[in-house]
Subunit: 353 residues, 2 copies
């Protein structure tokens, strides 16, 4: 993996990351193809939205269809017909949020599949193996999230375990990022950054954000954490977030993002637009002949009115969720393009959602 | 409306119908945009599948968003961003199949909306007005379906009422087809064809087929009914059907078809292919790297494997229903293109599903 920084604006950087499956510009947004599909959108539509890299989910894919099946079918890219880079998470977050009867030991975490109750064990070594079998370009180590608000003793234990697991995490086949945890405690974040950086990974993920902390506190803690990291490596803020969160984090020096919001909100009739968030189920749109966002050039905004989109949601036509997801991913793709341009032109302070 | 017959092969005809919103080649298949959306597919995808005309549903659209709203938004074409011809059914079939507490009198049919229980009345005059307000290019009169198997007394009363309603059905704004009923009784079909033809409509719909009668009986009765109709006007077999049904009806001289099957079966993981029907939920496809149909050039078959499509259905990803619907509509579009070519080349007998 090769990361080059082409321009700077304050702490922010515009760059480019090269992987075995192609390159992507940073700051980059990765739509979530949780189960090897970005909900409702095909690869052509993602490309048209300016998307260059996807995130897929290790927990879900290890359960179905299983990493061996994906490997037998030529890896994730070939499986889902996406000819660009893919990042996979470690699955740890899903184990802690979805799986019942989980048991954490120093060795790893044992849990029941939320699908069929089968007992599954994730260890630091195993999640690396799964992701290598999936064929992803950037992989994540197993970590233990710290619940918010953090209990000091729980946070201490979780952080120690995350760091111990990190020491056992190695990949000879692909790019393994380190994950910095530490909740909203500056000392823990600093300690974690140093512990992770000791192994000199090709990039750093910032975990444990957007857990319920106020936005201003998140902004501050993201900026503080970034300052503890080496300049030359990419930084990935996991699971974040709203456009305002992304803008703040880019200004702080973050290079990569993923979030379910554009597709999830699209499916629930909420659209990100240059006029703010629109709730398309609202009756006031019933005869609104304007496009969703006159400033957007996506197929949804070029072809359909707010009235029609509102109708699709009112009558439960799947074209509604599809078109709003398409638009929202365009909105995020366009936001990242605007941020990259603004960094190059030195106008980052002017960028708003 | 202008209908020209360009080629014949036995009783079959290949032609072209011109409407206010453009022309389409016949024999033609109309995907169902019941609620002003073909489930999961946008107009660009329909065009790419060779589709030239859509069907929309009067009953559903009269209830939501209401014909006045569609009219205020510039008509169905503009509303749903489809720049080609649209045919609407009369809504009668849905009244009889969906609406509770319906009461039929000579004047019309009063029913409760299946959505909110509101009392609605459809008369022969009103369904024409609704369809004119929707702005469709080809509209259908109110008729009373005959349940299958037909009870002689019920069939007689329904047919008399259908013919009485037909005499009250007039449109000065658009093309009003007549509907020939008569179930599987040759005498009734003949009588109905004559009663409908008396008003010299621009086209004839054949109603009351695919109601549970054996396929061979349907083929025979469709052929018999077509023989009772004037040669120079288009014939539309409503709600039919499977590829084999369409091929048989084209050979008998039918020009237009609509059916929910390509999208409905796509949503339930069933694909029409040159190898027959494939059930994509079947575990045997889990590692099948072949395209759905090697003989098909649609985006689904060009880009994805059976293994991936099966995975999408197994994990409930909406991309599965979307891609199979897309392929199935392509299959139908391609079937009609093959039928038109075969009529022109005199090789219709060789066409199979």
């Amino acid at each position: 993996m090769n990361f080059t920084i082409g321009a700077r604006c304050g702490a922010a950087r515009a760059g480019r990351i090269e992987t075995a499956h192609g390159a992507f510009d940073t700051p980059a947004f990765m739509p979530c193809g949780t189960k090897a599909a970005v909900k409702g959108l095909d690869p052509r539509e993602l490309r048209e939205a300016g998307i260059e890299i996807l995130l897929c989910n290790t927990y879900h894919l290890a359960l179905r269809p299983g990493e061996e099946t994906v490997a037998a079918l030529g890896g994730l890219q070939k499986f889902m017909s996406w000819d660009g880079p893919i990042l996979t998470d470690s699955g740890g977050y899903q184990v802690f949020s979805l799986a019942p009867l989980r048991k954490i030991t120093d060795e790893g975490v044992t849990f029941q599949s939320h699908l069929d109750g089968a007992t599954v064990k994730f260890t630091p070594e195993r999640v690396v193996q799964i992701q290598e079998a999936l064929g992803s370009d950037i992989i994540m180590p197993l970590d233990e999230p710290i619940p918010f608000p953090p209990d000091p003793k729980v946070a201490r234990l979780a952080l120690d375990r995350t760091h111990a697991w990190w020491k056992r995490s190695k990949s000879t086949k692909t790019n393994l990022f380190g994950i910095v945890q530490g909740s909203i405690v500056p000392e823990l974040r600093k300690e974690s950054a140093q512990a992770i950086a000791a192994a000199d990974p090709p990039g750093f993920a910032l975990g444990g954000f957007s857990m319920g902390e106020p936005a201003a506190q998140m902004d501050e803690m993201v900026a503080y954490t970034v300052q503890q990291l080496p300049d030359a490596k990419p930084r990935y803020l996991m699971g974040v977030g709203m456009p305002r969160d992304i803008i703040a984090a880019v200004k702080a020096g973050v290079d990569m993002f993923d979030c379910i919001l554009p597709t999830r909100m699209g499916r629930t009739a909420m659209a990100f637009t240059s006029e703010g968030l629109l709730r398309l189920r609202n009756a006031k749109f019933a005869r609104d002949e304007r496009p969703l966002d006159a400033a957007c050039g996506c197929a949804c905004c070029r072809k359909f009115t707010r009235a029609y989109l509102r109708h699709c949601f009112a009558v439960d036509e799947m074209l509604g969720p599809k078109l709003l997801s398409l638009h929202n991913v365009h909105y995020y793709g366009n936001l990242m393009a605007r941020l990259r341009s603004a960094i190059r032109e030195g106008t980052l302070e002017k960028v708003t959602a």
